[in-house]
C-alpha cells in the first residue's frame, strides 16, 4: 500500500517537474537566439540560493524520483499482467534496489551540472 501512496505522490511531483522543465528548457532555447546561452547555463549550474536558482538541485532530485516512479511503474505493469504476483514482496525490494542503483549511476553522471566551469 505504501508503494501505491508513494507512486501517486511522486507522480504529482513529476507532473510539476514536467511543466517547469518545459518552461526552463524553452527559456534556455530562446536565449540561444540572443546569444546568452552561456549565461543561462550558468544559472542552471548554480545550485541552492547563491545564484537565486534551485533548478539544478531540483533536476537531480527529479532524476531519483523518475527512477523510482519508472521502475515501480514497470513492476505494476508486470503485476497487472500476472508476472510475479506470488512473490510480490521480494519483487518490490528487487525493484527498489534496481531503482536506487540506476538513480545513483545517473545522478553521478549528472553531478558535474552542480560545479561551475
Amino acid at each position: 500500500m505504501y508503494a501505491w501512496v508513494i507512486q501517486r505522490i511522486s507522480g504529482l511531483y513529476l507532473v510539476f517537474f514536467l511543466l517547469t522543465h518545459v518552461m526552463a528548457i524553452a527559456q534556455a532555447n530562446f536565449s540561444i537566439t540572443t546569444g546568452s546561452m552561456a549565461q543561462m547555463l550558468d544559472v542552471f549550474r548554480n545550485p541552492f540560493w547563491a545564484g537565486s536558482s534551485l533548478t539544478a538541485t531540483f533536476d537531480l532530485v527529479a532524476l531519483g524520483i523518475i527512477a523510482f516512479h519508472g521502475f515501480n511503474g514497470i513492476r505494476i505493469v508486470l503485476l497487472d499482467l500476472g508476472f510475479g504476483v506470488r512473490k510480490h514482496r521480494i519483487g518490490f525490494w528487487v525493484t527498489m534496489a534496481i531503482a536506487i542503483a540506476t538513480a545513483s549511476i545517473i545522478i553521478n553522471l549528472a553531478l558535474p551540472m552542480l560545479h561551475p566551469r
Binding site: 507522480g11 507532473v15 514536467l18 518545459v22 524553452a26 532555447n29 519508472g70 497487472d80
Partner: protein
C-alpha cells in the same frame, strides 16, 4: 451512460499502461540524446523530445485525473476536470513545441 463511462475508464487504464512503458524507453533516449551527443539540432532529438512531451503530458495529467477521481467527484465535476486537464495538456504541448523551435532552426 454507465457502460460508456466504464469502457472509457478501461481504455484510459490501458493507455496509461502503454504510455508508461513507452515513457521509460523514450526517457532513456531523451537522456542519452540530450547529454551524450553534441548535435543539438538533430531531427531525431526533436522527434524524441516532442513525442516524450506528448506521452508524458497524457500520462501525467491522466494520473492527476485518476487521483482526483479517487477522492470522489460528481459527473458534472468530472466533465469540468477532464476539460480543464485536456486544455492544460494542449497548452503545455504547444508551448513545448514553441520552445523547441529555436533549437531546430538555429543551425
Amino acid at each position: 451512460m454507465v457502460k460508456q463511462t466504464l469502457w472509457k475508464s478501461i481504455g484510459l487504464w490501458i493507455l496509461q499502461r502503454i504510455t508508461a512503458v513507452l515513457l521509460v524507453l523514450f526517457l532513456g533516449l531523451h537522456l542519452w540524446l540530450s547529454n551524450f551527443t553534441t548535435d543539438w539540432a538533430a531531427i531525431s532529438r526533436a522527434l524524441v523530445d516532442l513525442s516524450l512531451l506528448g506521452l508524458a503530458l497524457f500520462h501525467g495529467l491522466n494520473g492527476v485525473r485518476t487521483i482526483v477521481l479517487d477522492f470522489g467527484l460528481g459527473s458534472q465535476g468530472r466533465r469540468y476536470l477532464s476539460v480543464s486537464l485536456v486544455m492544460l495538456g494542449f497548452t503545455a504541448f504547444l508551448f513545448g513545441v514553441y520552445g523547441f523551435l529555436p533549437l531546430v532552426f538555429t543551425k
